[in-house]
Amino acid sequence: MTAAVIVDHVSKRYRLYHERNQSLKASLLRGRRARYEDFMALDDVSFEIKEGTTFGLIGENGSGKSTMLKCMARILRPDGGSITTRGKVSALLELGAGFHPELSGRENVYLNGAILGLSRREIDALFDEIVDFSGIEQFIDAPVKNYSSGMYVRLGFAVAINVDPAVLLIDEVLAVGDQEFQNKCTDKINQFRSEGRTIVVVSHSLSSVGDLCDEAALIEHGHLVKVGPASETIDHYLSEILSIDPATLGIARRSTGEIKLQGVELISVNGAASDVVELGESVTFRFHYDVKESVESPVFGMSLTSSEGALVTGTNSKDQGLLTKVSLGLGYVDLVVPRLLVAKGRYHVTGTIYDSTQKTPIHEVGNLHTFEVVAGALRTSGITSLGGVWRAGA
């Protein structure tokens, strides 16, 4: 297989200015040059991305993964080494970056298309598809400054995705728009994959990298730590850098290591574990943990997030005055919910263990568990239920 992108010993240095000389006077007074320190955002990174694969770049904030993507997009030029790409590259770094607020959507489609390298004739041919994809037909002749941010981003995405690139670079822009539009984007990306195009994704979401990518590279402090099959790279990231056992469900955000959350079980009235709960039913959230070093009265916290990503509710053991004592080894703590009053839908559980000051999280796991609430005897609209009972007046 041929490589779509060859990253060959790429280094990128940023200048960290102590005092920025953005005026000539300052520059002359302080000597010829501004004082700065070099910061190696990328240090001698080499890897290849095979044609037709989906490739993930992972790493912590400031690790250099976005710099890598920008180098691939030719926005930044590496100081050392080279990047070779085969075919047209389109980058989804910021959607609608080239839009001019005063111009209409139509004018901006042509402008943005041209920036991305399309000719007028090509845009003519794609125009209907772009507008159709964005779903904003009625506003296409209005100035984009009157667009909502969602419309703006949708139009930007529609242009960028229709450029017909051989290599598509994506920087966590997919979390935009409503559910329907997100589905459209996911479909489009899957279509790209099936058409054998190359996709490079930078993401914080290890689960989406795991789902999407064939291969992944882990970058840490500008160095390439590991490159290979996505699952292996993610496991390496979890175990070596976040020091979490990848076997635990969910993806950790923070960890200091004294206690680890192992997982959560939902236990229904009849005592059985179940991931489907009826609205208004009683349920117990059982958090399993593993104590490695003794911690004095840790605080357990949990929150529920809806499938749209909205925080629904959160609670912790200290709010209720529970002083937990933990001993080394495995254990669990229960959150007993007499009536679960959230509307039907899917929910994600985030679990957190804090120290007694509640300032430092010892271990936090987003997306620890997912469960489903179904409508039962109780029905509701909106996101929550009052659990009330209607009674006829006298």
Binding site: R15, N21, Q22, L24, I75, A97, E102, E107
Partner: protein, 274 residues
């Protein structure tokens, strides 16, 4: 050569950026494109009253046109001057103004400089058209000279492009380039024969008993040659000297080459610095 090819390959983008420039310039203004004619009109009025009426600057009689109107004399130089002055000041800002674009998308960044100048070139050509119409009404048969005027416009555009490329990159690193140029611009304006004829500049200047060949020094300014060439063609209806055309051409092409070279050097870290 590479650069030329890049310009050619991205000509669609260049024309799109020029269109963006033109479309957005007078958006939401009631008079719209009338402004592009009102601005030079107001400066013509000011210079005519101050220099023509108050200071009694006499326009030389055009040879062989026989034209002696101060306003026409002024127009033939002022319109090209405005293109130069606006082109330089706006192209210097073009990278900083489009910082958002530079940070997020790749395309040859020279195009931002070129499109800013391109937008102004369109206005310049419209204004020039108006001036030519006025000259024709006043009896100056300028039509045979138009091919050379076109050549002059091309050379001037290159000159402005060269300066724009040279300074726009520098302005990203040192924002006071723009202030410095703003300071220099009026100086350049008065050292170019726009509001007065070149004959007002003494050939020799006596300072402390020594004679300085002021006129020769003055004529070394390529803008003096440029404005004089426009005036020769449009006002006098005569051929500017080949030497002076060649002088302008050397400056224009030289500045484009130097400008492009400097721009390439500074382009390297543009997305980080802008």
């Amino acid at each position: 050569m590479n650069q030329l090819r890049e310009y050619y390959e991205r000509r669609e983008l260049l024309s799109n950026l020029v269109l963006r420039e033109l479309r957005s310039r007078y958006k939401r203004s009631a008079l719209g494109w009338t402004w592009s004619l009102l601005n030079p009109l107001s400066s013509v009025l000011i210079y005519w009253v101050v220099f023509g009426v108050f200071l009694k600057v006499k326009a030389p009689i055009g040879d062989p046109s026989g034209q002696g109107n101060f306003v026409l004399f002024l127009l033939c130089a002022l319109i090209p001057w405005n293109f130069f002055s606006n082109g330089v000041t706006q192209s210097i800002e073009s990278l900083v103004v489009n910082a958002g674009l530079i940070r997020k998308v790749y395309f040859p960044r020279e195009l931002l400089v070129a499109s800013t100048i391109g937008g102004l070139l369109v206005t310049f050509l419209i204004e020039l058209g108006v001036v030519i119409t006025v000259l024709l009404i006043a009896g100056n048969m300028v039509l045979p000279w138009l091919p050379i005027v076109v050549l002059l416009v091309i050379l001037q555009t290159l000159l402005v492009l060269g300066i724009g490329l040279l300074l726009s990159g520098a302005n990203v690193y040192f924002r006071d380039v723009r202030h410095f140029v703003n300071l220099l611009m009026p100086m350049l304006f008065y050292s170019t024969p726009v509001v007065y004829p070149i004959s007002y500049v003494p050939v020799n200047w006596q300072v402390a008993g020594r004679s300085i060949p002021l006129r020769s020094i003055y004529e070394m300014n390529p803008l003096v040659q440029l404005v004089s060439a426009y005036r020769a063609l449009l006002y006098d209806l005569t051929f500017p000297s080949i030497g002076s055309l060649a002088y302008i051409a050397v400056w224009s092409i030289g500045l484009v080459l130097v400008g492009q070279f400097v721009f390439n050097r500074l382009d390297h870290r543009l997305a980080e610095e802008v």
